[in-house]
Symmetry: C2
Subunit: 233 residues, 2 copies
């Protein structure tokens, strides 16, 4: 894991030469932060202006620049804080549960929920166009979101394999496959289309995905060679 942005809010930093922040100052910084969050997430980086952010925060533009060196800095700080919350929204499957399909289903519902207009989706949307300009931010989001979720789930699968409940030679690959199966084109839809996917299709993705996954990786059936389920060649 990379170093966490433990201290995101500036202004009250210890040892930066400035006096300790007063409550009113801290409050304004928070206001700017919230405003930046709202505006950036709605309009994206390029289409957002410091003017609008300042107005929404109820402060002057100069005050914004007193706490954040420039637009890029404010954007980075906002995204980093947003990423910290993302990992909390990812379901942690219970390896001790007896109901394996049930755990998969909880995981699946969590995945589809994340792609149904959640907050991580909004961050992703505004990160995509600027990822080349802010490579660090792309990495942070990737690590806190998809990578974290995939690794947790892979660990769950590894345990299920050890206990003989599934037969999974490559848990990391299997985790990516399961997530992808459930996700389908939900992310694509959410990015490009206005109308959300009908709930029945989401259900079909969930149940169909679980079925395909269990069919490929269940422990009982016909013998399987190493490297994956039933290599066709």
């Amino acid at each position: 894991m990379t170093e966490h942005a433990q201290q995101v809010l500036p202004g009250s930093a210890v040892g930066d030469g400035t006096a300790p922040a007063r409550p009113s100052t801290l409050r304004k910084v928070q206001q700017i932060f919230d405003a930046a969050r709202t505006v950036f997430l709605e309009f994206g980086y390029d289409a957002s202006s410091m003017e609008v952010i300042a107005k929404r925060a109820g402060v002057s533009k100069a005050t914004v620049y007193a706490h954040f060196t420039n637009k890029e800095d404010l954007f980075e700080a906002m995204i980093r804080q947003e990423c910290q919350g993302i990992a909390d929204g990812i379901y942690q499957p219970d390896a001790n549960s007896e109901d394996l399909a049930g755990e998969l289903r909880k995981m699946a519902r969590n995945v589809t929920a994340l792609f149904a207009g959640g907050d991580g989706l909004a961050v992703y949307r505004i990160l995509v166009p600027v990822a080349p300009r802010f490579p660090r931010l792309g990495e942070v989001f990737y690590a806190e979101g998809p990578l974290s979720g995939r690794e947790n789930f892979a660990e769950f699968l590894r345990l299920a394999h050890q206990r003989g409940r599934l037969k999974i030679p490559n848990p990391t690959l299997a985790a990516e496959q399961f997530m992808s199966l459930i996700r389908g084109d939900l992310a694509l839809d959410a990015m490009l289309l206005v109308a959300p996917r009908p709930q029945e299709e989401v259900e079909a993705l969930i149940e169909g995905g679980i079925a395909v996954f269990l069919n490929a990786y269940r422990a009982d059936p016909a013998p399987q060679s190493t490297g994956g389920p039933q290599p066709p060649h």
Copy 2:
């Protein structure tokens, strides 16, 4: 299907009251078009300027505005033309082939190739942030790219089912599942990270995905109920 943008390049339109375009004019329009493509695909809509596009095209800004009413118009025209080419890059599986796994593999390689820095990926990247502002463009890209590919593949699966080579109760769902299995997080990686996925992992996605898919949908094995492969509940 929606109406195709059959005529993308303006200036020589019949019946618009202007005289037929001379060769030099047509050439300039093409230059503007190419420049717009390059600049928009690199910097996105908001971060691109008409100034830069004109300079790159080797013409004046006024000339650009003589052929395209405004920035939005130029962007739309460029994206629409770009979308027309996307469908051509999608592999059309051969339903008459005897080598089923081979066809799946060709399809899979095509999918991974599209997500390895192709052109459609660049269009997607710049479309994401402006999709709410240009809803039509999102739909066009979706229809010409993912939807078209999925439907073609679903038809292939339907035929394979009819001929008893696979057992697929829901070809549309199965097509989405296969594409997603192969894709994995390749698209996510390409959007957020600079380093491309190692080739060996791409191979694992392809072979593992084909294996999982065939395992779930092959015609021979244990009896399966309707609605999908082995509903776990």
